[in-house]
C-alpha cells in the first residue's frame, strides 16, 4: 500500500575517521498530498541528513545508504541518478528550505540574480518576463517592495527577509513537496511566528505537502497533521498530532512537550534531568529516561501501533504503563 510520499526502512550512515557510523534508522514515514508532517528531534538526531537523503544530496564520498526506499508517488528516489534527480525532482517536484538563511544565499549575487537563475533554468524565462515572475515570487512570500529587493545583496537584508527570499526561490518552480529544515532556527522569536504563518498559508493555497523539521514541539503542534519524533536517528513515536500531544507515551515525547512554555504548574513536569552512560543493545533513550525499567537495557524497542496510526517504540508503552 503506497501513498503519496513514503519512507520505508531507511538506514543511512557515514564513514568517519573512527569507522562507519549509522545515523538514521527510520522504519516508516508516510505523508499524503497536501499534508504537513512534523518531524521533531534535537540537534544531531539526523533530521538534516534525512532531508538531504530525500534529495540525494548527501556527500557521496562519506555517506552510505545501507538500505531502504524513499518513494514519491511510488518512485524510489534513492535509485535515481543525479541526472534524473536534477531534471525531474529538484526544484521542480521537491524543494528544500535550509536552516540558516544567511549561508543559504550566495553572498556575491543579488537576490534577483539568484531567483532569476532558478526561474531561468526551470522555466526558460528571460528578460521582462523573468523580472515580473521574480516579483510575483517575492510577493507570494509577502515581501513588500519586491522590485527593490531584487537588486539587494543577501547581507543587506534582515534575517526574516532572507528566509522569505529562500522560501520564494524554493517554491518558484511549483514544487509539490516542500522540505522545511528548521526554517525558523536562526530567527528571532517574533519573526518565527510570521514565517510559520507564511508556510502554513502557502501550504494551504498551493496544496503542497510539507515535511516540517523542527527541534521543539511548539512549532509543530498547531500546523501538522501527523508528527514523528526522532531521537538519535530513530523514530521513537509517530502518530496524529493531537493524539501525540494529549496521549503521549514515549518518555522523550513527554520531555519535549513539557518543554513548551506553559503555565507555571505544568512547566517542566516531565523534563528529564538524568544522564547515564549508554547501554549497547538497549534502548537508545535509556541514558536519559527517567522511567526506564530492566528490559530497556537489554533490547531495542521497535515501533508498535497503540491505537489507529499512533505508534511508539517503548517497552513501557507496550505494557500500557506510564
Amino acid at each position: 500500500m503506497s501513498g503519496y510520499f513514503e519512507i520505508n526502512d531507511l538506514r543511512v550512515g557515514f564513514r568517519t575517521y573512527e569507522g562507519e557510523k549509522q545515523v538514521l534508522n527510520i522504519e516508516h514515514i508516510s505523508i499524503d498530498r497536501g499534508e504537513t508532517f512534523g518531524l521533531v528531534g534535537e540537534s544531531g538526531a539526523g533530521k538534516t541528513v534525512l532531508a538531504l537523503a530525500i534529495l540525494n544530496l548527501l556527500p557521496a564520498a562519506s555517506a552510505i545508504i545501507y538500505n531502504g526506499e524513499i518513494c514519491l508517488e511510488g518512485e524510489n528516489l534513492l535509485t535515481k541518478t543525479q541526472e534524473e534527480m536534477r531534471e525531474i525532482y529538484r526544484g521542480k517536484r521537491i524543494s528544500m528550505i535550509f536552516q540558516d538563511p544567511m549561508s543559504t544565499l550566495n553572498p556575491v549575487f543579488t537576490v534577483g540574480q539568484q531567483l532569476g537563475k532558478v526561474l531561468q533554468h526551470h522555466r526558460g524565462l528571460k528578460g521582462k518576463e523573468l523580472v515580473s515572475k521574480s516579483i510575483d515570487a517575492l510577493e507570494m512570500v509577502k515581501l513588500p517592495d519586491a522590485s527593490s529587493i531584487l537588486n539587494k545583496y543577501p547581507h543587506e537584508l534582515s534575517g526574516g527577509q532572507r528566509q522569505r527570499v529562500i522560501i520564494a526561490i524554493a517554491l518558484s518552480c511549483d514544487a509539490e513537496f516542500l522540505i522545511a529544515d528548521e526554517p525558523t532556527r536562526n530567527l528571532d522569536v517574533t519573526i518565527q511566528a510570521g514565517i510559520l504563518k507564511l508556510i502554513d498559508e502557502l501550504q494551504r493555497n498551493l496544496n503542497i505537502s510539507v515535511l516540517f523539521i523542527a527541534n521543539n514541539m511548539g512549532l509543530v503542534n498547531v500546523t501538522c497533521k501527523n508528527i514523528g519524533i526522532l531521537y538519535n536517528g530513530k523514530l521513537v513515536e509517530t502518530g496524529p498530532s493531537h493524539q501525540l500531544i494529549n496521549h503521549h507515551t514515549h518518555p522523550y515525547t513527554e520531555a519535549l512537550i513539557s518543554a513548551i512554555p506553559r503555565s507555571k504548574e505544568e512547566k517542566l513536569k516531565f523534563a528529564s534531568a538524568i544522564i547515564r552512560p549508554e547501554v549497547a543493545g538497549g534502548c537508545p533513550y535509556y541514558s536519559r529516561c527517567a522511567q526506564a525499567i530492566e528490559v530497556c537495557t537489554q533490547k531495542n524497542p521497535i515501533l508498535q501501533p497503540i491505537s489507529g496510526t499512533h505508534q511508539v517504540a517503548c517497552f513501557l508503552a507496550y505494557r500500557g504503563e506510564q
Binding site: L52, L55, L57, A61, Q82, M85, R86, E87, Y89, R90, G91, K92, S95, M96, F98, D100, S103, T104, L105, N106, P107, V108, F109, K117, V118, H121, H122, Y153, H155, I166, I169, A170, C173
Partner: protein, 336 residues
C-alpha cells in the same frame, strides 16, 4: 570604496618610501668601492677621486640619501657601470620584450591554471584530481632555468622544431623590416600587416613563454583548487543544487565568482613570480629584455643597474598588489 583606495594608496606610498630606504642602504653596503668601479680598472687615484665627487660619494650620508630620492623622483636611476647609459633609457628600450613574456606566461597561468583547479576541485578524490594535483605540485618544483635548458635540448637540439632563442630569427633581422611602433614585435607586425614577421615572433615566444609560465600554472591551479574546495562546502552550493540547477552552472558561475578574491591575489602573486623568473630565463633564451639586463648586471656586479631594476620591479609589483587588493574589495561582502 574611494576612501579605501585612498587609504591603500597612502599605505603604498609609505611602503615605497621604505623600499627606497632599503635599496639605498643596500647600495652603501657593497664591500668594493663604487667610485673605483665607475672609474674603471686602470684608473689612477686622482681619477677615482674625481669619480667619487661625480657620484656624490664625498657628501655626508643623509645628503646622499636626499639626492638619491630626488634623483628617483625625477626618474633618474643613475648610469649603468657597464653600458654607461642612463639606466632608465636602458630599461625603457628593453621593457616591451619582457612584457611580452610576462603577458604570455600570465595568460598561460590563467587559461590553463584556473580550469585545472576547477576540474581538480569538482572531482576531488578521483583520478582527474590526483593527476592535476601531482601535475601542479610537480610543476612548482621544477627549477625554471633548468626546464628552459631541457626544453631547448628537446625542441631545438633533438627535434629541431623550435628556435633556441632570440625574439626573431636571424633571417628576419637581416632581411626584413621589423616595424617598431609599440616595441611589441608581435603587435607591431600585426599592425603593419606583416604576417611573416608576426608568425616568426610568435614562434619564438613559445618556448620562453611556456618555460616561465609553468610555475604560475601550478600555483594558480593549486590556489584555485583549495579556494573552490572551501566554497563547494558552503550551504549555498547545496541549496543551489537542491533547486535543480545543473552542475555546470553551479561550478562555473556560482562557485567560481566567490573565488575571485583569493584568485586575484594568486594571479598577482604569480605575475610577481613571472617577473622574477624572467631574470633567470631571458639569459638562456637570449631574450633582450630586462631580465637578461639584470642577469648581466648581477654577474658583472653593475650595482646601479641592479638597483635600478630592483626599484622599478618593486614599484610595478606594489602597483600590481594594489590593483589586486582593489579587485578583492569589489566583493560586495567586504566592508571597506
Amino acid at each position: 570604496m574611494i576612501k579605501f583606495t585612498l587609504r591603500r594608496l597612502l599605505l603604498g606610498l609609505i611602503v615605497l618610501f621604505g623600499v627606497v630606504l632599503i635599496t639605498f642602504i643596500l647600495t652603501r653596503v657593497v664591500p668594493s668601492d663604487p667610485a673605483a668601479k665607475w672609474a674603471g680598472l686602470r684608473a689612477t687615484p686622482e681619477q677615482i677621486e674625481l669619480a667619487r665627487i661625480q657620484l656624490g660619494l664625498d657628501k655626508p650620508i643623509y645628503v646622499q640619501f636626499i639626492r638619491y630620492m630626488t634623483d628617483l623622483l625625477n626618474g633618474n636611476l643613475g648610469h649603468s657601470f657597464r653600458t654607461r647609459q642612463p639606466i632608465l633609457s636602458d630599461l625603457q628600450s628593453r621593457l616591451p620584450a619582457t612584457l611580452e613574456l610576462v603577458i604570455i606566461s600570465s595568460l598561460f597561468a590563467i587559461l590553463v591554471g584556473i580550469p585545472l583547479g576547477v576540474v581538480s576541485a569538482s572531482n576531488k578524490g578521483k583520478l582527474p584530481d590526483h593527476f592535476s594535483r601531482l601535475f601542479s605540485v610537480g610543476v612548482v618544483s621544477l627549477p625554471t632555468f633548468w626546464i628552459g635548458l631541457i626544453l631547448q635540448l628537446v625542441f631545438y637540439r633533438i627535434l629541431g622544431i623550435l628556435p633556441i632563442g632570440g625574439r626573431v630569427s636571424l633571417e628576419t633581422t637581416l632581411f626584413m623590416d621589423i616595424p617598431t611602433i609599440t616595441g611589441f614585435i608581435t603587435l607591431d607586425a600585426l599592425f603593419a600587416g606583416n604576417f611573416t614577421v608576426f608568425f616568426d615572433a610568435v614562434w619564438h615566444l613559445i618556448l620562453p613563454g611556456f618555460t616561465i609560465g609553468m610555475y604560475p600554472i601550478g600555483l594558480v591551479a593549486r590556489m584555485t583548487r583549495s579556494a573552490l574546495l572551501e566554497i563547494l562546502n558552503e550551504d549555498y552550493i547545496t541549496a543551489a543544487r537542491s533547486y535543480g540547477l545543473p552542475e555546470r552552472t553551479v561550478l562555473w558561475s556560482y562557485a567560481l565568482k566567490n573565488s575571485v578574491g583569493p584568485t586575484s591575489t594568486v594571479v598577482a602573486l604569480s605575475i610577481g613570480y613571472t617577473l622574477v623568473n624572467t631574470f633567470l630565463v631571458e639569459a638562456i633564451f637570449a631574450w633582450p629584455g630586462i631580465g637578461s639586463y639584470i642577469a648581466t648586471a648581477v654577474t658583472g656586479l653593475d650595482y646601479p643597474a641592479i638597483m635600478g631594476v630592483t626599484i622599478v620591479s618593486t614599484v610595478a609589483y606594489v602597483i600590481l598588489n594594489l590593483v589586486a587588493d582593489i579587485v578583492v574589495a569589489l566583493d560586495p561582502r567586504v566592508r571597506v
